[in-house]
Symmetry: C2
Subunit: 314 residues, 2 copies
């Protein structure tokens, strides 16, 4: 069984033919050119799909994009980086152009579906995917289906509060986990601490311009035994742990898959998270708890978008 | 259609014949006598039910009790206040004694079912019930069914963290909403502030023994215009608001029904909660948000237990 997965980003449209067993078997990338407007962009997506399907028997299209997606997985509202898109039934527009059934879903949920169909989540019936990137996002898989909530907007995991006195992230909410683990916030937190430690090798590397410091630099330093880097990642891991306790106490889902750039810190982040969880999560929830890394990498969006089509049309 | 609802507490067994339209039509209360042991207690419950069903056509039994209940709603684990109960398939035991099918559920989830079938929750397909009592508990109704999570333990709402630096409640977790809004914690928080304000009327009433101060005293003082009492309830309401933001951002359920002794503070608590929510909950979740009080009172447990039977056997 084959489906088309499309990953619509601000820079590129990626599309792939995905086989349910073999994964990606054919793939194209085109620049998005979002500035040309909504209709031309939809045309470009349609043409990209039409080129790909020529040699294949395809059951349908799944499309991942930024923004809030309706519960019926057809309509997106105010997607960032796509000028002129206010409320668009993108599924219908794609079907008009390709004669294939289509469902759409936001990036974070698509990543969770990628994990469910092809990644670390394959082994779990229910799990929560946490994406630690520029922002902190997520998707909830409950009994092998996306949990969408009443209006389709569930799993704003990055905007769960762990300290109501805490700093703002890019949202209106104080002290959310994104305000600590979003890439920019983590980098800023690290820069603050490093700037007070002139003898630390990271000070020497970044004191000219702390804005260049990224989480990967912390991970690399931690691997070399830099104790300040280890401490910064550990504190961040603790905060991830508090957020995970909230998710578990709320929904009793005990499997976690973590992806995204910041997650590359691996056990420098995860072990401190597990430590907080062992200590502060209620005892009855400890049984069966697991926190694992996703390793699908960049293909995750295409695979998840195809997974959406498999779930919807097979 | 009629079912039996049973409310098994540490002090009393209450049982009622409940009509789906008319509510409670017949009711008995007996002392629990839990110290006599598990088997005799189950016998007493069985006899209580058998007495009630004589004149009625009954579809089944729903039983509410403290403790963690299995996902299939048959088995309870280590219920507090019931000595000798470790892991008990109470549903099976009741069926043996009454020849009626039976399901069990924990108190907090039963309260949510009571609201769904007979109370303020009747108007909502999905809502979260928050019980502000000695502890803070809750139940999640999603698409007119209890959301139980993977192992049946979802909705530990009182143990959701809002400040990871915060105080412990009776759990292992720091800074949970229960550590602020559980009756004892709210009273302690109030006593601390009142003890610093000797000119306040509440100081005069309680300085002999602050342990006697209860949330209802704050509400009564607030109604008389006591500004310190109003401030204490407002701060507590803000904390309730942060917890609710977490529930909404996580599950996209936007209707809240609040019950329990502390909720009698009404808008002294709810308006400050709504204020925090208007300000700090993400904009797309604001539409349709509602926070209302439950007014079923003490009947809620019996009605909810019967609701469990209606859901299970009709």
């Amino acid at each position: 069984m084959k489906a088309i997965g499309v990953d619509l980003g601000g820079t590129n449209i990626k599309a792939a033919v995905v086989d349910k067993e073999q994964g990606i078997i054919d793939q194209v990338t085109r620049p998005t050119k979002a500035s040309l407007g909504k209709d031309l962009l939809l045309d470009r997506i349609g043409e990209t799909i039409s080129d790909l399907i020529k040699d294949h028997d395809i059951i349908g299209v799944g499309l991942g994009l930024p923004g809030m997606v309706s519960k019926d997985q057809t309509t997106v509202k105010n997607p960032p980086n796509l000028p002129g898109w206010t409320v668009v039934n993108a599924a219908e527009e794609i079907t008009k152009r390709t004669s294939l059934p289509c469902r759409i879903e936001n990036d974070a949920n698509v990543a969770a579906l990628g994990s469910l169909h092809f990644g670390a989540g394959k082994q779990f019936d229910s799990f929560i995917m946490i994406t630690l990137g520029t922002g902190v996002g997520g998707g909830i898989i409950y009994e092998r289906k996306l949990f969408k909530g009443t209006q389709g907007m569930a799993a704003e995991l990055g905007h769960v509060i762990i300290d109501y006195h805490g700093p703002l992230s890019n949202s209106v909410t104080r002290g959310t986990v994104e305000a600590y683990l979003g890439q920019r916030f983590l980098s800023r937190f690290a820069s603050d601490l490093i700037s007070q430690n002139p003898s630390n090798p990271l000070y020497k590397s970044f004191s000219d311009d702390f804005d260049k410091l990224e989480p990967v630099d912390l991970t690399n330093a931690a691997k070399k035994g830099n104790e300040l880097a280890i401490e910064i990642l550990a504190k961040s891991g603790h905060r991830l742990g508090y957020a995970i306790i909230n998710y578990v106490h709320m929904m009793d889902i005990r499997k976690f898959v973590v992806s995204g750039g910041v997650s590359k810190a691996g056990d420098f982040l995860f072990e401190p998270a597990r430590e907080v969880i062992r200590k502060q999560m209620m005892e009855p929830f400890q049984e069966g708890f697991e926190l694992v890394a996703e390793n699908l990498g960049n293909d995750s969006a295409l695979l998840g978008a195809a997974g959406l089509a498999f779930d919807s049309f097979s």
